[in-house]
């Protein structure tokens, strides 16, 4: 893991906490935490674009949804689809979609990038809404969870809630480690440069568009991983998975959690997801409360939750990058 040791310890403790949770927590919350961890993967993937490459995508949910649809379409009625087939196909499909969308999008920047990514996501949204073969507005059911094993021998039964929990937790950690590795590698140095000063990065000898495109594809693929897990977990996928509200939500997790740190967006997803759940119990009009909460955070917590944590903990060196002004 990256960062100074207090942060590493905190993150290890958090993973440890998540690892023991299924044995102490209420089954309802186990289900909820699976959902939150999936959103955490989704938010981290967007942060690679927003927090590290400087590209604000308002259509990131497209890849989340496309992956889910691929899983739903692949899974036969009788079930038994091997994860060694399902996962690569879903990830490769999402990567290709991200390559196409990214190829068009990285030519633009700023608000035009925000809008063109939104436009592509809307195209995908309406494609699934208007094609009855794909379930239209009702969406599709995933007939069965993928089979994890070799030959007939089962490694992990995803139908079991605890197994699915640990499967998701494992992928959350793997995603974090992979992204941290990419960010420390030469590629990560270049995309950070692009975010800080693209023209100068180009002048130093980097074909920046190519780097932005690859970053877009990587982010899309990890969003696909999250979408795969979501569809497998709920056994359902619908156009709302790729709608702009979903893209807006994940954007919110990243900003509220704190851009430019990998743990920030996960924190954002957990905090917002839990609040959503609490408000939902409290009042039928929880969106009203959520709205006021979001506004309050924007006005009073400019660096997100991670910024607050960093300020309180006086963490040095590994704190969040400066938010853009």
């Amino acid at each position: 893991m990256t960062g100074p040791w207090p942060l590493r310890l905190t993150l290890l403790a958090a993973v440890g906490g998540l690892a023991v949770f299924p044995w102490v927590g209420d089954p309802f919350y186990v289900e909820l935490v699976i959902h939150l961890m999936i959103l955490g993967i989704f938010a981290m993937s967007l942060d690679l674009l927003m927090g590290y490459t400087g590209l604000v995508s308002f259509g990131h949910a497209a890849f989340f949804g496309i992956s889910g649809y691929l899983l739903a379409l692949m899974t036969p009625e009788s079930g038994g689809l091997s994860i060694w087939l399902a996962l690569p196909v879903c990830l490769a499909g999402t990567a290709v979609a991200a390559l196409v969308v990214g190829w068009f999008s990285v030519r633009t920047s700023g608000i035009y990038f925000i809008m063109i990514t939104l436009a592509f996501a809307q195209m995908a949204f309406f494609f699934f809404v208007e094609h009855q073969d794909f379930g239209g507005t009702d969406g599709l059911f995933v007939a069965d969870k993928p089979f994890v094993g070799f030959g007939g021998w089962q490694l992990l039964d995803l139908r079991d809630e605890h197994s699915f929990y640990f499967f998701t937790l494992g992928l959350l950690v793997v995603t974090y480690l992979l992204l941290a590795m990419i960010l420390r590698a030469p590629f990560g140095q270049v995309i950070r440069g692009i975010r800080a000063n693209e023209a100068r990065t180009r002048a130093l000898g980097y074909p920046t568009q190519r780097y932005k495109l690859i970053s877009f594809v990587i982010a899309g693929t990890f969003a696909g991983l999250a979408g795969f897990l979501e569809a497998a977990h709920t056994e359902y996928v619908s156009p709302s998975h790729l709608g702009w509200h979903e893209s807006g939500l994940v954007l919110m997790y990243v900003i509220l959690g704190g851009m430019g740190t990998l743990y920030g967006p996960v924190l954002g997803a957990f905090v917002m997801g839990l609040l959503h759940d609490q408000f939902q119990d409290l009042t039928e009009h929880f969106n009203l409360v959520m709205g006021f909460f979001v506004i309050a955070v924007v006005l009073f917590l400019p660096d997100g939750v991670a910024g607050l944590v960093a300020r309180l903990g006086r963490a040095r060196g590994g704190g969040p990058a400066d938010p853009p002004r």
Binding site: I182, R184, A185, P186, F187, V190, A203, L204, G205
Partner: protein
């Protein structure tokens, strides 16, 4: 005279009706320090931007070491061995000086599409970075965030980032702008040192500095080349004196 390392032919760049650079034909000999001087608005920075690929020419051509680079994007020009520094400090403010230079040094690797090994373990890049920091005099400030160093140091860093890319030809756009006397003297010393094994194309307003380091001069006025020659010829040229140097006090 040896084959020029860089030459332009009828190079022009128009912005609407304004001919910022107008039919400029110039040859730059390898190993020389060639200064471009002229009043504000003469088109010097536009010329540098054309040479570095930051701007595309409206017409004309540019050749670098015999290869046509007209309209090539900046990253291609940079990778061929042309480095540039900017008049307005153009750094990565949130990065440390080390990280600023690192990005320049890393660009000399065959590719940066590498995703596994931590960047800091690339020894050749590290060495290049440290060399560049030493040359521009910022070794001691290596791990200070570059937005926190003085303006003069940022100017040094600007040059250091360029040096980290190990260019053959340096395009320097007013490297002394905004520097104190002491820092300027340092940088002039550095330019002299670099002149030993690099080609330098230099824009500078400080005439003392120009005459101290340049061995060839081009005077630009209104986007056109007025005259090119050795320093003493330029200083003696009546046309240049009238157009630019005023009453002829050159100094240096």
């Amino acid at each position: 005279m040896s084959e020029p390392i860089l030459n332009t032919l009828d190079l022009s760049r128009h912005f609407g009706a304004l001919r910022a650079v107008d039919a400029v034909t110039l040859e730059f000999a390898p190993g020389r320090v060639h200064a471009i001087i002229g009043p504000n608005g003469a088109g010097k920075t536009t010329l540098i931007n054309l040479l570095s690929g930051d701007l595309k020419p409206s017409s004309g051509s540019i050749r670098f070491k015999g290869q046509d680079i007209t309209g090539a994007p900046p990253y291609v020009v940079s990778r061929l061995g042309v480095g540039r520094s900017y008049q307005k400090t153009n750094i990565f403010p949130a990065f440390t000086c080390f990280e600023n230079c690192w990005l320049g040094a890393q660009s000399r690797e065959r590719t940066s599409m590498r995703f596994l090994r931590p960047a800091r373990r690339y020894r050749s890049v590290r060495e290049r970075t440290e060399r560049a920091l030493a040359l521009c005099g910022l070794t001691e400030r290596a791990h200070v965030v570059s937005s926190a160093i003085s303006h003069g140091e940022q100017r040094q860093l600007e040059i250091g980032m360029m040096l980290a890319t190990e260019p053959e030809l340096l395009l320097l756009d007013e490297p002394l702008a905004g520097m104190g006397a002491e820092e300027a003297a340092r940088v002039i010393g550095l330019l002299r040192e670099l002149a030993a094994d690099h080609t330098l194309i230099l824009i500078e307003h400080d005439m003392d500095a120009v005459f101290a380091v340049a061995d060839r001069l081009t005077v630009m006025v209104n986007g056109r080349v007025l005259e090119t020659g050795d320093p003493q010829d330029i200083r003696a040229s009546p046309a240049v004196q009238e157009a630019y140097l005023g009453s002829g006090e050159g100094g240096g």
